[in-house]
Assembly symmetry: C2
Homo-oligomer: 376 residues x 2
């Protein structure tokens, strides 16, 4: 049989990775808190539990040839445990230990000479004034760990918002940091994939957030080739700085003067790379699978001039499958991806839709129309 | 949860259909003689057994919303049994009863005014001379049922080959037919998909066989638009003649005078349609899934000017996964599909590779190079 790839986590990223693992003839195993997760339902190697449950963790790891993950909220100590019993883990515990804590992540990048927003560690004794002196009147406080989609962030502009922010975030997680507020012109992102032998980047894309959640991704960002080259160079240096192998998504702030600051790195398939499934010759998921097995990487450039991806967020409770497929599938050039989540919830990522073509305005309009009309 | 699609059969066609079912948020169930078949491994709804085992058949059918199949060698009586307990079966037992027996299939098409090679029923008493008088000196004898990839066919040109052919095929299956030998210029094929509301066809493709097995598919066939239109029209009439809903592959002989004769119809995803996965906006597998649920169909035209698919047939025994992925994956614009079969066997369909682009010669050359080099 083909090699077996263990994935820590069974959500949509693991699910879309699983399709590609199978396509190449490999097998998968899933560890997730609940049985029959979106990815778990695709295999009989479906282990219920989480990394703290050593018995399940080792059972899951069992005959896996390599272990990877779909979120970075796994303490690197658990990955180390797997490495210690001889498992290949990609991204490695070392890499995760350098990026899991956002304060450490920014410090690592900063030391490597990469540009990031100004940032400081936030102790309990810091007053608004003290922080504002270093970062300016407006700044962002962040949980150092476990933040995603805006959870774990608070924008601060005075003593009141500062106090509220600290309270909100301290509730959630103990360790905080503060970051300069960047008055960016755009948010950009790039996927990069690296093996022992090669490194490849995808096109630089534009991302549009709504309520701190990725809403639209436009590939390519269609900007100066110099900026694409710069993003590629930063991506390469960032991966060196964290000893990174496998697939990574890097989010940037683009400043008015065209400087690119690294906002964040994710050591896994990334929402800003979903467009690659139909948009590029080799999807981020396939290159993810190839990379964790240290196989040659596939071609990463766009099939057409543009690909536009829009997230389909839950608008209601109930079924995780669109109730009006008969209407929305009529957009017969749209690519629908529904994640098979057991339950819908407002704001939950339930699926996404991608359109590929040469007329950007048309693609964006149609994608938004679908998002608007879909009963999901 | 999403609707559940039951597939009779767990080979590569079911496997590639399963990917697309999941992509749209649906679930699958598989009935196959062996547990953990290429498609069975993708689900926990994996039923070991076959249609004769009524208990397993009903367990499999259980809560399926629709049942489909990946080969036409299932006696229509079993499909009728499922219909009788209220299951939607696509293709229906009625359709299968019209095409399963090739003699009946040809009779149905012929009665509908569609052109097929001359054919006759073959009784035991027929002599070579008698048949040759009707069909010409060279003709083909065929098993009326269960033939595939050249198994169940014998080319006859005199009394000796006739006697040998009859013996060979009678061994295999009781009922035989004979068909005029067509001196075709090319073999062409088309995929067609139909719901209660619409019908869509894919491009007419050229197929090249080696040892009676599909070897290369070239999409599009790049021939006169008149021939494409004619093939589309024939496809529509053929589906009407068999009350066909769902996805069908139709193989044609193209004669010197550009007549298209129907060679065969397959009521399911077809090897000549694999190129659609990357070659077309909506793959045959996705439209198969949409059609069995009577959902709107996706766009069927080509993404680039050409797509070339080459089958990867087993060259050896042993692992069903390429042993030299490190070499062949270096062709970084090729799309590899490995079917996850437990064991390799000489001549067995183990996977396929597809290349998409505008330079046909280059695509064919590269696909053949890969087929040649791959250790599978």
């Amino acid at each position: 049989m083909g090699k077996k790839i263990g994935i820590l986590g069974g959500g949509q990223l693991a699910r879309m990775s699983a399709y590609q693992a199978y396509k190449l003839g490999f097998e998968i195993a899933i560890l997730e808190k609940k049985y029959n997760s979106p990815a778990g339902m695709l295999t009989k190697n479906d282990f219920e539990g989480w990394v703290e449950d050593e018995e399940q963790l080792l059972k899951f790891a069992g005959d896996c040839d390599v272990i990877t993950l779909e979120n970075e909220f796994i303490d690197s100590a658990y990955l180390k445990k797997l490495e210690d019993i001889g498992k290949v883990v990609i991204p490695s515990s070392k890499t995760i230990s350098k990026i899991q804590d956002k304060f450490i992540q920014k410090s690592v990048f900063s030391k490597a000479g990469l540009q990031v927003p100004k940032f400081i560690e936030l102790g309990e004794s810091h007053s608004y004034e003290e922080v504002a002196e270093q970062l300016g009147e407006r700044f962002v406080i962040k949980s150092r760990k476990f933040g995603y989609d805006g959870y774990g962030n608070a924008l601060v502009s005075d003593e009141v918002t500062y106090k509220n922010g600290i309270e909100k975030l301290s509730d959630r997680h103990a360790f905080l940091m503060a970051e300069e507020f960047i008055d960016f012109t755009e948010e950009l992102a790039i996927m990069v994939v690296k093996t022992q032998n090669e490194i490849k980047t995808y096109p630089l894309v534009k991302t549009i957030q709504k309520n701190h959640i990725c809403h639209t991704v436009i590939a390519s960002a269609n900007i100066d080739i110099k900026l694409q080259k710069e993003a590629e160079e930063i991506a390469g240096r960032a991966l060196s700085a964290i000893d990174g192998f496998g697939l990574y998504g890097i989010e940037f702030f683009r400043k008015k003067d065209d400087t690119l600051l690294i906002n964040e790195i994710a050591p896994r398939p990334h929402n800003t790379g979903h467009y690659t499934i139909e948009g590029c010759k080799t999807s981020q998921f396939e290159n993810h699978i190839r990379a964790v097995l240290n196989l040659p990487l596939g071609y990463t450039s766009l099939n057409k001039q543009f690909a536009v991806m829009v997230n389909l967020l839950g608008k209601r409770t109930g079924s995780g499958v669109p109730q009006n497929y008969n209407e929305v599938l009529k957009y017969d050039d749209a690519h629908f991806h529904i994640y098979g989540k057991a339950e819908d919830k407002k704001g939950r990522k339930m699926g996404h839709v991608t359109l590929v073509g040469d007329d950007l305005d048309e693609l964006i309009e149609k994608a938004n129309k679908i998002e608007n009309e879909i009963d999901l």
